[in-house]
Structures are given as structure tokens and as C-alpha cells.
Symmetry: D2
Subunit: 438 residues, 4 copies
């Protein structure tokens, strides 16, 4: 943070680990671009219009190649942006370097301290003549800091776009208590997020995460998936497809019944735990797998988390003197019981797919395009369209996002005939479904 | 209708085809009971409480063994019921006979005339000292008749429960124009209907319907499914599972993108039609398959409809002199072009799974239990809870319905720990999700 | 048998149930032709050459629409045929009528007596001036009768083609004891039979057989499949595809390990029997499901056989006074224990797919074409190519059979480049694999 | 090779890269042991009997953790072994170190020269007082060298066990020309190799190989798999399971028809190549994907080989001046056409799963156990059981190998009743199938 760096054009308005990694980062960004057709389509459109010209965006997200594609798209759409990380571990330093090299005001590196973290956000809210008029947030920390420390800026921004469960939750709290003075878009609950990004990114990445860390064979393995929401559905389907025998735990009878209909056995964890080869948590809850459970698992069991934070598995309870931790590979710890039993804990209980695999850019593109459109919508909406509340993106925009991703599959939409549109009471250009349709 | 019949107890308060078929009908009802655990659980509960005692229900639905289980459950819950058919073709005469034999006031037979149809409904609204105070409707005809012809009764009923797209549509119309003077429950859009009944009943029955009529082999067949909503998803999954190559047509980019992610090719019908072995419509739209399309299909192509009515396939356009119709089996017509080309039209374009296969009782049980609970809720709700509007069943009841069906799979729900419930901000007994969660 | 009938051309050289059903039978044959491309291709070829001209064939198989297509193909290839049934129950009378009407010497009806059965075969061996010089057999009964009763004819025939396990077994016995004086073709163990006909006909028909008889929902059902050979593999795959939870029993560790790798639990029947919803036998063995097992199944369990004969399930043990049999639908018996428990036995334990569903014509076409080619090969082989032994069809002919069925899928084969053929040491026209490749 | 190293016990009878990596290698071996139940079971059995005591084995295979488990098992069974690599690239140096540290005479390192390669093998045939009496070979090089250079040793050895296509091919050549003076076991064509190892190792590893190198999303991708043998079947099934649209090319109509029945489109490469996102070769043939093909693929297409050698894709044709090669990640080259089009070539056309992923130890265990049993069989067989020929392992041993792997799945075999064994004409202990059953 102290050490000053400059990019090749002599600009130093950023703070990254090592500007020299820029070239490698640029390569990764280019690879991601290939698989993010929605954002690339927006850029094309930006050639003629600049719908975000005048927007000054504080961005606070994971800094990955995919985020870089979003950032550069926002810039192409006319926005001025400053960007920081929403997590102290997740920054890909080479990507941050590439962005800095390209002239972006990036403040992020892997392994920030708590203090660094807040300092970085602050740099992105108001600094060096920049004063944000929009926020793109993931987790709500940028929103929180602006709300607390820069209330006057907060009052004047045109809108917040928030992607995460937690961040959305915080917005609804603010709204309930009347403190939300500006409109916000909840991208987390859009159909493009729940039914694409979450489901498919997990279906693709769970296999990858397990293979890269443990080389485990899936065929015939007994797996228990805790929580059968979108994440759990994606994990279960992928594993079943490769011959694993999947069990599901649930608290919600509706999700439980869905699991039954797909051929998964719905069990309580304690009933099956001692036969399981793999345990995966995807609940968003805490202490779903406890020390008591782990005392009973069999030797060699793989334990990992695809859900919220590292409290789904009670990892803290494993840090006791009688258990020996042995790091056997990167992101893989053997935890050894006094009797010699070993479990394999992945990523220390943090999200295993984020730590140990890659999430497909295409799926991220869907969410990112939604975020970009949400920014455009809030920035350009005529006064009064949005009140001081939390909104979902209008259905029609969700449909637009989806349509931008169809050409990648060479998919051809059918057009409604006039008579059909009348029959269904629909506009030929959509929206084609009510807002709540999932 | 004129011919008077009496059941074995000497009661004649019904009008069915032939009371002597009662025994066979009873057998079918008993078989259905085995697979309808939700309704059977409500009956058990009814032993101690009679939540519908005092309710006088006009029922207007398809008369099947499954409906009979619902009817007898409502009676066990304390209700007085009179029942008629919502469709002039769909009554299973032997089931109607069995209900009549059991003392129910049933007015329905297969092949009613238009006039019979309305007469039957009338018998169930107010007749012989009975005056309805609730409606269970499927399609909105009973509601319509009562609204038009018996406005005073209509005003005083405690609520309407409606299952179908069409009926719900009519209710919303009434509501919009301020004419809906009583609360109504929309069961059609409940999660238990869309995500269970529709999806799984179609996944199970499409194969059955095609096999029973045509003995077609599925493996390697080129199939196009028009519409990738719940019905289309169910059909596509089943056919893919047996080795068919499935193509999808869609107007909605979101559903189209889902089809892509599941490995289906999204096409326009005209692009692929001449290579297809099977065409299935599931759109709820009209003229999705036109004469122009059918002029181009290949010899031997199977054409059928899983969607709304017999206008999805433009069957009328096939009734022209140059085409020869040949009935080759029950529900199967060969339509022969001048050059000798034949297509196989199933069920004359009406819903092929209803006409040519059976819908699994278990899946119906989920919806039927929802209907029963909706009646209980409306009948017992404290004044003011429901206004003159159309409601969805509260989430908690959906969850209750699901929970009644879990024991059939020997599924074991996990219970939230107190600390977990607090963490998630949930009540331990549910509801576990927001109302819009799908 | 006594009653003489004549077809419309005044010919009476046949014995069928009712010649008047011919038209309906003809329709079924025409439908089957659509799905039997291999045989139809042979017919086309027959226009120029008549490779079976001079052949006089005794045919003894199930008399179905599919068999009729084979019979008429053999005739088109130049053969004179006389045909009888290999099973007293399995004749489709309308098909037999259609063949008789077309001038074929058919001797078969549903429900023959034991004596009728042998009389019919005799009519097809030597009668009315006809003396067979080839046999197409299914089960070995025609072979047996000719061997025993017409030894002089037997000695002079040019070859036997046999399709069934049992018949092949009998041929190997004859061969071992030196009594087989003519060459025979074992079609049963050809790759086209084991890896297509058996596997795919069962994958398609198990679902159909269960649905038509019981309307059971597959999703979430606990099923045990006894025997994981080709039949078991087909059944398991189909059921898993629709969401059933499939368990497998096996005696052979290799098949058991395959089941594990596909995600099926390998269990002993007694371990799981009381939780099962459906039990399917496919072992070719006897007493696989015993009375002791059935005493322990749960109420409503469906029990059926896809394997050899009605001894796989020990049906005899259920015919005891304390159990009540109740026929609830065609081919479905409820067997009721003293405590009220019911099991549903399908087809009285005989092959459920043959009794209660249809086997896809396409799959049968593969085997039938193999049979026709085997006849051609034996009839035209230069003296000395085949000794007095049991042979498998040469690989190249298997490949030819397969190639005749590819156009139905619009499948396009790749041709080896000369340099590739040399590299692999193959002839460009095949055979492409060693004889034992499966 | 010149630099002398000693392990911690002062022994120097080995030649590896760096003995100090032993500890890390040992860890990998221990992890592999967990997943190789067949070999571990043999070790247990070895505690009482030493069936290989007296055997002196020349081993020549890939040196991986899995091979190490085999080597240490052979030692535990009583054998003296000396081991070298069958490929100059594939040695895992740390594993070789661990084996050397454990006292084994290992001669192998990654990146041997051609001369090193043959020198290493020689060290393992006869050196330092050791004279082999058995060979375990993979590719036939050890056999070849011994045959050529040490004919007197060759004549006296008790048997050869060979795993690879190539090696087996060479043995059959020797045998045909009468030069094979000792018995050899062909493990390559055993059912445990073709139906487990090949099929399942590819089903598991193709996904992994593609993800680790390219992070590609599978859903909706157009993939063409060239060759639908065991490797192709495994690849196709895995990709279809994750939502890819799979096309197949074949020269053999039988395999082509199987592909059709599983729902894959059978095409010629040139028909589809310009729409493909991923191309995978699995033919064992050469020049299956040519420069002409690659000139027509679309931008971003991934090209890789799962088959035999790096000639399936004509990689040589890509090394021309007008194309630019750019290494973007380890094992990933972008090849750039003059117009900017890029293809992604993986592992330079060598086997992508061996280069870029891990093959599951469990599957390898099946083959390795077969190899160990083949050695035991040949070493202990009474004189005369095996002639100077190439043999397949007796069925019963295949079954034994399978049975050793069932406990890992907690699978429970059923035992034949005496009466059933009689009925089937089988011995209760197996073999349960004829030798050719696949
Ligand atoms: N790994 C990733 O890439 C990724 C992607 C998206 C979301 N997430 C995270 O994964 C979690 C789940 O997301 P989702 O979209 O599936 O949510 P969801 O709400 O759809 O599903 C979670 C499910 O877990 C169930 N559950 C809660 N507590 C449980 C318990 N104690 N035992 C069993 N089941 C329990 C709930 O009933 C619910 O059905 C969230 O924390 C989310 O932030 C991770
Ligand atoms: N057969 C049954 O048992 C059964 C069961 C439930 C519902 N249905 C009926 O099936 C129909 C579909 O129900 P659903 O729940 O799937 O509805 P849905 O709205 O979820 O799906 C219908 C889909 O069809 C698409 N569509 C509309 N017009 C189209 C066109 N011209 N070409 C291509 N796609 C088009 C829509 O975009 C939509 O995604 C309804 O009419 C419903 O009443 C039948
Ligand atoms: N229904 C049909 O349409 C149809 C079609 C083809 C074959 N068949 C019949 O089905 C049977 C099986 O044929 P297949 O080709 O699968 O044979 P197969 O030999 O490949 O498979 C039978 C399997 O059953 C196993 N088995 C034997 N006894 C057992 C027992 N007591 N418990 C558990 N498993 C046991 C065997 O080990 C074997 O793996 C045969 O009798 C055959 O005639 C039926
Ligand atoms: N990657 C691995 O881990 C692995 C594992 C086992 C085997 N292999 C190798 O993979 C190759 C295939 O092995 P297999 O067991 O599947 O063999 P196989 O003989 O069963 O299958 C190869 C298939 O390719 C087809 N084929 C040949 N030339 C073709 C062409 N020009 N176009 C299209 N199809 C063509 C053949 O007809 C055959 O069906 C072999 O070279 C083998 O050594 C690789």
C-alpha cells in the first residue's frame, strides 16, 4: 500500500500487488471475454450510445477476470469507475494489475488486512476529485461505508445495484427502517441469477472443485448434499450424472419433495453420516455439519462447503488439540483423529468452488449483464419511476439479458404471430411472463 | 337424464350413466387412494376435528378416481358436497357410479350435451334444499353460472377455490372490474401445482401416452417440443432420458436459454420440421403447428398436443377434402396426403396425456390436498383476513401439503436448531421461504 | 382346427382363428413395416436377386406383426415358407389371418392345446407336397420334432437358424453329443441381439409394461432389479432416468461392479425387500423371489418378471389357501395376505413386457434382419464353409445388419481413408472389429 | 544418471531425479492406497502366503503413485522387482524417489533421453546379480529388449504380462511368427480393462481435463466425439450428463447404431465441424482430424485427443509458418490463423487426460490387480497349463478381481442356492459367465 507503482503510461492512481503481472492478467481477461457474450454485446451497442456517460460508479466486488470484463464494459458504456474488492482473499492480483495498466483506478490485492479493506473502499467512494453517484456492490460493504461515513454523498447517488444475499438483506433492513433514501436494485433474486447463475455455476464447478483437490472418483460414491435449493440442485444433478449415489438433507418440505421426485433420498444427516464418502453443504445456514457429526464420519471422508460462509461446517470445532491438521495439498487439509481416522477438509470450509475451481464465465456473464443493465436503468430512469425502495429488475430486462446470450448457442427464437400475441394478451416484444414467473 | 336410477340404499339423488358399474369404480378409487397420501392424511386428521362441518360445496371438476378421493375426503372433513363435471367428455362413468352408490349427489356422465352440462352444474348449486356456500371449480363454469344466474347465492358464499389457468384468468378479470365480491384462491399458480403437478405429471405421462397409442421407440428419435415451460420441461426431460434427440421452440428468451443449458437445441419449427419424428406442443398458445408446417413433415411423423386445447395444432386446417383421415387405433388417426404421406395425429389434437394415458395419482394428490386446504382456509378464516380478491395459498400451507407427501418416500426432514432458526430469521415451523420462492 | 376356412382367393392351406380379421392384421403389419428398415432394405434388394429362391423354410416363432414382416420378406427373397407358433399363447390371431389371406401357409392361433401345437409344427415340416430344407426356429421345438420324427428330412436340410437361449442350448447339446448333422447359426449371441435387441427392447418396454398395468408413478420409487445383465441394465437405466431409486442384486461380481459404477446400490434381496415399491426379476434363473421374500414385502408392492419364465418369481408358492387372489385389471392380480397386505403381481409372473406392452419394431428389425441373413448365408454358402456345428454369424454380417438400420436415424458413417485402413490393418469395407468385440 | 544418490538407509541401487522428494511422493502413494482396494486386499492375503516368492520381475510401466502401490504389493507378495519407465515423459519424480527411499531398484525420471530409456530398462533386466524370470510390461519395450539383447534370459522366464494395445499387438506378431517361446497374458483385452478401466477412467477424466485446461462451460456446448468405442462412450456420456450436445463420428456401423440409440447424432466430421465448440478424438486411428478440418473450425474451438497417440489430430500439419502458436497456459496452445481465428489445442495432441488430469486410482486398481493376479497365475501354474501363446486371464480371475473391489462400495453379492446353481449349470463359486461374455 505504501509502495507506489506506476503503469506503463505513468499513471499511479491505483493500488495493486504488482503492476508487472499485467500482461498475464490481460490474457485471462481476453479468455473470459470469449465466454461473456452479453457484456460484449453491450459494448457493441455502446459504440453508438453511451448510456452511462456521466455515471461515476463505486464498484466493490470480487476482482476476477470476469469482473474485469464487466468493469471495462461499464467504462465503454461511458461510466467513470473506481473499483475495490469485496473480500480480502479473492482478488486475482494479475487481473487487478491488468486493469491498473489499462488505466483503471483499482484498489485491491489478495490478502488485504481489515484496515486495508476499508481504506480501499474509501478510495473508491470519494477521492482525488471523484465523487460517486452510483454503487455496484456485492455484500453491502461499500453501501454501508458510504451510508455511515459519507451520508451526504449517499443521499445524492442515483442508485445502488446489489448482487448478494447478504447485501440485499441489509438493503431490505434499511428500507424497513426508513433509512434507504435512494432506489436500489436487487439483482440477487432476479431469475437470471437464481435460475442460471446459481444453478449452473454450481452444477459445473462442484465436480471440478472436488477433482482438482482430491482426484476422487465420483462413480458409486455416497454423497450427502445438505440443502436442496439452487446450489444443492446443481450439485446433486452433476454428481448423479456421473454415477454417485446422492442423499439430500432439507428443512423445507417443498424442496425435500422435489429431491424425492428427482430420485434422491431425503435423510437426516445423522442417519447416514457414517456411510458417506463426500459431504457438501449448500444451505446458507450455520453449523449444519457439527463436530458431533464429524466424530462419526468414516476414514477418508471428504468434507466441503458450497454455501455461504465457513460456518456451515463448524470448522472452529475442529481446531482442538486432540486433532492433528495436516496440509496435504493446496486447499486440502487432512484432519486426523486420535485413532488415526482422517477427514479431508477442503478450502478450510470456505466456498470450495470459488477457492478450488473456476466458475464458468458464461454463467457469470448473465449476472454481470444484469448488473450493467440495472445500472443503466437506475441512471437513466425518469424521476419518479423508482422510489426509495428495493426493486427487482423489470422482467423485460431479464428477457433482454437472456436474449443477448442465445447467439452463443446458435439458438433461434420463435416470434409470436400477431394473432397469437392477441390470443395470449402479450406484447410481441415481451415481457412474456408475469414478473414472479420462475 | 330422464331415466331414474337408485343406488342400493334406495337413494336417487344423482344422475350418472349406470349405477351398476359402481363396484368397478370403487376398485379404481381404492387403487387411487393408495397413491394419494396427502388426502388420506387429511382424513385421518378429520377423525377428531371436522374443519369443513357446515360447508356446502359445489364441486365442478373432471370426475376421475382421483377426484373421487378428494370428494370423499371433503365429506370426511365434514362438508356436504354436490358434484358435476367440468368437461362433457372426461367423466369416468364407473367412478361417478361408485360415488353415487356411496350416497353422493353426483351429476355427470361421459358425453353430456351442452344443455346437460349446464343442467348438471345447476343441480349442484342449489337444488333439493341444498344451497352452496363454497365453490371448488376447474375452469370457472360453476363460478360463472352462479355469478350470472344465482347472484344472491354468489354474494353469500365464503369463497371460491379455482385450479385452472382459464378459471384463474376469469377470476382476475372479475376482480379487475370490481365484480368479485368474495375471496378466491388461485391454486393454479401455487408452487405445488407448477413445480410438482405440472412438471412431474407431464414427465411421467408423455412417454405413456406415446407408447400406448403408437408403440413408438424413443431411442434416437428426433423430437421437437414447442414451448419450454413446465410442461415442455417435463416432456423434454423424459424423452431425453430414453435417448431421443430433443429440439425446443420458444418465444421467451429466458426459457430458451434454460433449454440451451440443458442440452436442447433451440430452433424455429420451420427449420427442423422436415426431419422430425415426433412433434409435441406445450405452449398454451394457438396455431403453433399450422397446416403449412404439416404439409412439410415427413411420412410417419407423430403429432400431438400436451398443452391447452386442440387449437395448438391447427387441426381444423386438416379437415379438408384432399386429405384422408383414417382411424387406425383408438385415439390415433392417420391423415393421408394426396402423395401418400401419412401423419399420425393423436387424440385429434386434444391433450394427449389426458386422453391416452393416466396421470399419476400421487402428483394429483399434491394439488388436491392444496385444494382441500384452500377450502378449509377460506371457510374458517377470521373475517377480514381475506378481502374480495384473488389469493395464493399462504406459503406455510404449501409446505404443509408437501410435508404430508414425504412419508410416502420415507423421507426424513431435518429440524432447524433454535440457533439456526435465529440465524436465518425463521420460525422453526416454517414458512421457510418467501412467498415468491420457486 | 376342424373348421375349414378359405381366404378371399379360395385357398384353404392354413389354419388360423378367423380369416375375417385379416384386414385389421394387415394394418398392424403395415405399421410395423414403417419401423423395420432392415427387412425393408432386404426386400428392395430382392427385386433384382432372389437369394432364397429354392429355399423351403419351416418357420416356428411368435406370430406377431413383426414376425409377419420377416415372413413376407423371406418370401420376397424367393423362399417358400410354412409357419407355426413357438408358443401356445403368443399368436396374434389377426396377424395370422392377414398372412393367411395373403396366401401364406400359417398354422397358429392363440390358445392352442399341446396336441394342436405339435400338429401345427408338423404341417410346416412336411405336408401337402412341401418338404423343408431350412429351419428358422425360436426355442428349438421345430428342430426337435424334425430331428425325432423326420430324421431323413433333417439330414438333408441346409441349415438351422435359432434365436433363443433355450434353442441354442439344445443345439450345443446336440453338437456335443455328435448328433448335429447340419450347420446351425446361433443368432442369440450375436452382438446385434445382446447389445441392441435385449438391452434396448427392455429399456423401452419396462416403463410401458408397468404404466399400462398399474399407472404407477416412477419418480422417487424404490425399485430392486434382480440380475444386472443386458435386461437388468436396460430396466435400471430407464427407471433411473425417470427418478426411481434403483437397487440391484447380482451373483456375478463383474456385473455387480458395473452396477456400482452406474450409481446403483448392490444389495441382497432380503436386506431391502421390505422397503421396495417395485421388484423386477431379470436373471434367467429360478426362485429368485421366493415366498419367504414376499411374506416380507410391504403393502402395495408391485412384483414382475422380465427374465426367462414364470419361475423367476416363485408364483407357485403363492397359490395357497391362506392367500386370496383378486384379478383387478387384465394381467394384474392382487394377492392378499391374511392381515390385509396386498401385492400386485403382473402377468402371473410371466414376461411382463411381452404380456403387457409392445416391444419396439425397430429393435426387433435388427434381430429379424440377422435371421434373414443367416438363412441366406447358410443357404448359399459354398459346400464346406460350414461344418456340422453351431456358428455365430460372421462379424461382417452383423455390421451389414447395423448399416441397414442407420438411415432410419439419418446417421452418416465415416469412411476409412486408404492410409488409415492400412494403419489399422483393416479392410475399408470391414469387418472393423474382431469377432469377440462387444 | 551420473550423479550418485543414496537413500536414507545408505542404499544407492536406483537412479531417480532427486531422492529428497521422497516424502512428498510417499504422501501421494498413501493417498492412492486409499482408493486401490484390490491391491490392498492382495497385500493382506500376502501376510500368510507369499505366492510370488522367488519371482524376479522386470517392471516397465508409467511410474505413478498408482504404479507404486502395485510395485509395493508385488514385493509384499514375495517378489523381487526392478522397475523402469515405459515412457520418457510420464515418470512422477517424487514417486520414483519415494520408491527408491523404500529400497526399490527404480530407474526412471521425467525427461529421459532415448539412450537413458534403454539403459534404464537394461538395469531392470539383468544387473547387479539380478536376473529376471518374469516381465510386467506396458508397450512391449522391456519384452523387446530382452528378446533382442538377452535371448537366453528371455527363454527362461516364466511369463510376460502385458497391458497395452501396442504391446499385445507385438506379442501376437511374435506368436504368429513362432518366436514367442514363453506364455504371455493379454491384460488389455480383459473385461476388467475394457469395460471398467477404459470406460470409467475416460468418463471421469475427460471433464476434468477440459476444465483444468480451459475452464470451459459444458452446458449447451456442441461437441463432436470421433470414435464411439469404450473411450468414446465414456466421453460422450459424461458430456451429455452435463448438458452438452454430443455428435459422434464412426466407421463401424455397429458402434454407430449404438450411438444413435443413446441419442447422439452420427455425422461425418466435415458436415458439422464449423459449428463445433469442442472436438475430441478417441479412435486409435491416425489423421482423424486433419489440417483441412481445422482450417474450417470456428474461432475458439477446443481440440484434444483421448485416443492413442498425437497423430489422431494431425498436429504436424499445424506447425507451418502461417500459423502462430501461443502458449497461454500449461498444456494449452492457441494456434492462430492469419485471419485471427484461434483454436485451443490441448497437450499438443497427446492424450489429454493423462497430461492434464488425473485418472481415478480406483479404476486403475482394477487393472493393476488383474496384472498382479496374472503374474501369480503364470508364476505358479503347473507346467503345461500355458503353452507358448498369448492368453486372456481366466474368467474366474476377472471375477475375483471384481469381487475385491466391491467392499469399497459396500456392495453385497447374492449367493446362488444349490438348486439354482444346478439349474443354471454353474459352479456356486463361479465362473458365472462364458469367457467371451462382455
Ligand atoms: N458456491 C457458489 O458458487 C454459490 C453460488 C450461489 C449461492 N451460494 C450460496 O449458497 C447458499 C445456498 O444458496 P441457494 O441459492 O441454494 O439458496 P436456497 O435458499 O435456494 O437453498 C438453501 C436450502 O438449504 C435449506 N436449509 C437451510 N438450513 C438447512 C439445514 N440445517 N439442513 C438442511 N437444509 C437446510 C433451505 O431450506 C434451502 O432450501 C447461500 O448461502 C448462497 O449464498 C453459493
Ligand atoms: N397435459 C397436461 O397434463 C397439462 C398439465 C398442466 C398444464 N397444461 C397446459 O399446458 C400448457 C403449458 O403449461 P405450462 O405450465 O408449461 O405453461 P408455461 O407458461 O410455463 O409454458 C408455456 C411456454 O410456451 C411458450 N410459448 C408460447 N407460445 C409459443 C410459441 N408460439 N412457440 C413456442 N413457444 C411458445 C411460452 O413462452 C412458455 O414458456 C398450458 O396450456 C397448460 O394449461 C397441460
Ligand atoms: N423380457 C424380455 O424382453 C427379454 C429379452 C431378452 C432376454 N430375456 C430373458 O431375460 C433373462 C436375462 O437375460 P440377459 O440377456 O440379461 O442375461 P444375462 O446373463 O446377461 O443376465 C442375467 C444376470 O442375472 C444374474 N443372476 C443370475 N442368478 C441370479 C440371482 N439369483 N440373483 C441375482 N442375479 C442373478 C447373472 O449373474 C447375470 O448377470 C434371460 O432369461 C433371457 O431369456 C428377456
Ligand atoms: N485416454 C485414455 O485414458 C485411454 C484409455 C484407454 C484407451 N485409450 C486409447 O483410446 C483409443 C480408443 O480405445 P477404445 O478402447 O475406445 O477402442 P475401440 O476400438 O473400442 O474404439 C475406437 C473406435 O473408433 C472408431 N474409429 C476408428 N477410426 C475412425 C475414424 N477415422 N473415424 C471415426 N471413428 C473411427 C472405431 O470404429 C472404434 O469403434 C485407443 O487408441 C486406446 O489406446 C485411451
Amino acid at each position: 500500500r505504501e509502495r507506489l507503482q506506476e503503469n506503463s503510461k505513468g499513471c499511479g492512481e491505483f493500488c495493486v500487488k504488482n503492476i508487472n503481472q499485467a500482461e498475464f492478467g490481460r490474457r485471462e481477461i481476453e479468455i473470459a471475454e470469449q465466454e461473456m457474450p452479453g457484456l460484449m454485446a453491450l459494448r457493441k451497442r455502446a459504440e453508438s450510445e453511451k448510456p452511462l456517460s456521466g455515471a461515476k460508479i463505486t464498484g466493490c466486488t470480487h476482482i476476477t477476470a470476469q469482473a474485469a470484463v464487466l468493469i471495462e464494459t461499464l467504462a465503454a458504456l461511458g461510466a467513470t469507475v473506481r473499483w475495490c474488492a469485496c473480500n480480502i482473499y479473492s482478488t486475482q492480483n494479475e487481473v487487478a494489475a491488468a486493469l491498473a495498466e489499462a488505466g483503471f483506478a483499482i484498489f485491491a490485492w489478495k490478502g488485504e488486512s481489515e484496515e486495508d479493506f476499508w481504506w480501499c473502499i474509501e478510495q473508491c467512494i470519494c477521492s482525488n476529485g471523484f465523487e460517486a453517484n452510483m454503487i455496484l456492490d456485492d455484500g453491502g460493504d461499500a453501501t454501508h461505508l458510504m451510508f455511515k461515513k459519507f451520508p451526504s454523498i449517499f443521499k445524492q447517488i442515483k442508485g445502488i445495484v446489489e448482487e448478494s444475499v447478504t447485501g440485499v438483506h441489509r438493503l431490505y433492513q434499511l428500507s424497513k427502517t426508513g433509512k434507504l433514501t435512494i432506489p436500489a436494485m436487487n439483482v440477487n433474486d432476479s431469475v437470471t441469477k437464481t435460475k442460471f447463475d446459481t444453478l449452473y455455476s454450481c452444477r459445473e464447478s462442484i465436480l471440478d472443485a472436488l477433482k482438482r483437490t482430491t482426484d476422487v472418483m465420483f462413480a458409486g460414491k455416497h454423497v450427502v448434499v445438505c440443502g436442496y435449493g439452487e446450489v444443492g440442485k446443481g450439485c446433486s444433478a452433476a454428481l448423479k450424472g456421473l454415477g454417485a449415489i446422492v442423499h439430500v438433507t432439507e428443512i423445507d418440505p417443498i424442496c425435500a419433495l422435489q429431491a424425492c421426485m428427482e430420485g434422491f433420498r431425503v435423510v437426516r444427516l445423522e442417519e447416514v453420516i457414517k456411510y458417506m464418502d463426500v459431504i457438501i453443504t449448500c444451505t446458507g445456514n450455520k453449523n449444519v455439519v457439527t463436530r458431533q457429526h464429524l466424530d462419526r464420519v468414516k476414514n477418508g471422508c471428504i468434507v466441503c462447503n458450497m454455501g455461504h460462509s465457513n460456518t456451515e461446517i463448524d470448522v472452529a470445532s475442529l481446531r482442538t488439540p486432540e486433532l492433528t491438521w495436516e496440509r496435504v495439498r493446496s486447499q486440502v487439509d487432512h484432519i486426523i483423529w486420535p485413532d488415526g481416522k482422517r477427514i479431508m477438509l477442503l478450502a478450510e470450509g470456505r466456498l470450495v468452488n470459488l477457492s478450488c475451481s473456476s466458475v464458468p464465465s458464461f454463467v457469470v456473464s448473465v449476472t454481470s449483464t444484469t448488473q450493467a443493465l440495472a445500472l443503466i436503468e437506475l441512471f437513466n430512469a425518469p424521476g419518479g419511476r423508482y422510489k426509495q425502495d428495493v426493486y427487482l429488475l423489470p422482467k423485460k430486462m431479464d428477457e433482454y439479458v437472456a436474449s443477448l446470450h442465445l447467439p452463443a448457442f446458435d439458438a433461434h427464437l420463435t416470434e409470436l404471430a400477431d394473432s397469437q400475441a392477441r390470443y395470449l394478451g402479450l406484447n410481441k416484444a415481451g415481457p412474456f411472463k408475469p414478473n414472479y414467473y420462475r
